[in-house]
Symmetry: C2
Subunit: 358 residues, 2 copies
């Protein structure tokens, strides 16, 4: 990872899309690595503040161009947008080349692998900078060998009703809460932003389809020194774009515990025209049913993303409504922390309900 030797000072490219949903990599980085953020780059929003537009990154200015960011001390250009399909928008080529010429490293989570692009590769060579593709998977992946089901780690997996609803943040916050309690717990990144934040992991949506579960298994095996793993989820079991990744991960990680993540107010699956969002009850039922034949997982709680409810009282009412309906603990981890969910997992673990007869 870049920045492990010298401090990354990033300008985050969110051109034209400085909003929490498309700019989720930017928002995640600003939330968990604020000391490494110099500026956001969005020529349409220059002069404003990141916190104002993204809800995180207060004090990080938005600048109009790469040169300004460079003058502010940026040594790295971070692509802060995650477009569906992950392809590089053509107008960004010039911005990336300009950053390279200014001797800035480049970090990208796109499906377009920048380090394999001949023009970028040559420019990086000429200017002595490094291009890091967060989504590039290890080359030696294979099919699942079902070792997760025999692992002694306690595996908590954040799964979603939809893509882009808070699974990464829920996992990071549950992991933080467990560590605060002295539990030997580790966050397991499965997407580009999680890898950027934690410095390791595999972008599961980029691996060869046959190897999804095998890649998940590898992350368990590599982290068996920890007692608890809190594993970032991807997509949703019923999302028509990404469900394959979600299910391959579920069977590869073989978690004992699931935390269902849901963004309040969504009625249509993100990225679709008209695929309706099933109820939370339906989603819990589906996740548990489809886990059972491989390794039974129990949904232990709900992480509600309530960012559209600005009033705390309304947020608490919604949390109570969901708790009453499902008889499970629920919370908004950004607003109220993840202690409730971490405690539910610890209780489940301590009751010893974690080993299946499967």
């Amino acid at each position: 990872m870049p920045g492990s030797d010298t401090l990354r000072r990033c300008v985050i490219l969110t051109e034209g899309q400085t909003h929490p949903t498309p700019a989720k990599t930017a928002a995640g980085f600003l939330r968990y690595c604020p000391e490494q953020a110099v500026a956001l780059l969005d020529s349409q929003q220059a002069g404003r503040d990141s916190g104002e537009l993204l809800g995180v990154g207060h004090g990080v200015p938005i600048v109009a161009d790469v040169a300004t960011a460079h003058r502010l001390g940026a040594n790295t250009l971070l692509i802060g947008i995650t477009p569906a399909g992950g392809q590089l928008p053509q107008p960004w080529r010039a911005l990336i080349l300009q950053a390279i010429r200014l001797k800035m490293d480049v970090i990208s989570g796109l499906h377009t692998i920048l380090s394999e692009d001949e023009e970028f590769r040559q420019a990086a060579l000429d200017h002595g900078v490094r291009i890091t593709d967060l989504r590039l998977p290890p080359k030696d992946l294979s099919v699942n060998r079902c070792r997760s089901t025999r692992s002694k780690t306690f595996r908590i997996h954040t799964v979603g009703t939809d893509c882009n609803c808070g699974k990464k943040v829920a996992a990071l916050e549950i992991n933080r809460s467990l560590k605060n309690r002295g539990v030997r717990s580790e966050f397991i990144a499965t997407g580009q932003t999680g890898i950027l934040i934690s410095g390791k992991g595999i972008a599961m949506d980029r691996v060869i389809a046959d190897f999804i579960s095998g890649a998940a298994e590898r992350l368990v095996v590599e982290n068996e020194a920890f007692d608890f793993l809190v594993i970032e989820g991807q997509g949703s079991l019923v999302h028509p774009l990404y469900s394959g990744v979600t299910l391959g991960m579920l069977h590869g990680f073989a978690p004992q515990a699931l935390i269902l993540c849901h963004q309040y107010g969504r009625t249509i699956m993100r990225g679709t025209a008209d695929t309706p969002m099933p109820s939370l009850k339906t989603m819990i039922d589906l996740y548990e049913r489809i886990s059972a034949p491989v390794f039974p997982a129990r949904v232990l709680g709900v992480a509600l993303n309530l960012m559209t409810l600005t009033d705390d009282r309304q947020a608490l009412d919604e949390i109570k409504r969901v708790e009453d309906q499902l008889q499970l603990p629920a919370t908004d981890v950004i607003r109220f922390g993840a202690d409730k969910l971490a405690e539910a997992a610890l209780k489940f673990y301590q009751r010893g309900e974690t080993h299946s007869t499967c």
Copy 2:
């Protein structure tokens, strides 16, 4: 595809594994393209007959080496084995190089992409032969755009309780039966052997995980000139190695009709040590439940692979038992043809139960 201009005359490499389960590419090729098969290559079984060991390919001799096959007229080496993980066994390198030096084309369905291997690439160049990697996906795939759900094609998808249980053969036979009835139907290949047989398709297990459903959608859109598509399934919804591929395909193809394929006698999922096979009822329930939120699919019948029951009477008894239990038509498509399943699909189509309100 090789052989579209000149006739392929293949020696099929099944070295050490001339048995219907590992040699499923060989068996599929011998069943559907027997006129293109010159010999099998298995030094341990040389002198025997393919039909004797594989149940198909009667009259195709087994030879000990590439040179003998060449003398018999082979102009192509076909890798006939599909090992889990799809990696090239090291001892096969020499056999492949020998074939190339004898000016034979090479066709492979492995995950190891032979045309990108420097030694093979150079040898092929030197000797003027073509290496075809059946599993290599198109380069311009993307995420699903949910166009299948709006397509006017009637989509029948063969899905499995397990991998390697007869989904390809069921799809080929249902397609054949529909065409015999004058239906404008097309077989859609989703794996290397189906592509080898039909000359087109995408090996779904090789695409980038994020693009599974998008690749499935593309196959629907490219074949909208047909009224019926009979789509080969892959893996199983609860197979711990391959479930991601299965679900991504299900949501990408968005079929109206499913045919559940099951090999009689399996109690443990193939390729696992101890993952038990769920009941047919459980599998039908899971496939229908997980389809519903994207596009509701109905299981219309069961394709039973009864190859381990040598007695026809026993086979018929087992078919009747399954039909009584599930109240669905069942058959062994290899022994008794697929007319029953094709008729069930036609009836369902004609009753107009095919358009959802989803």
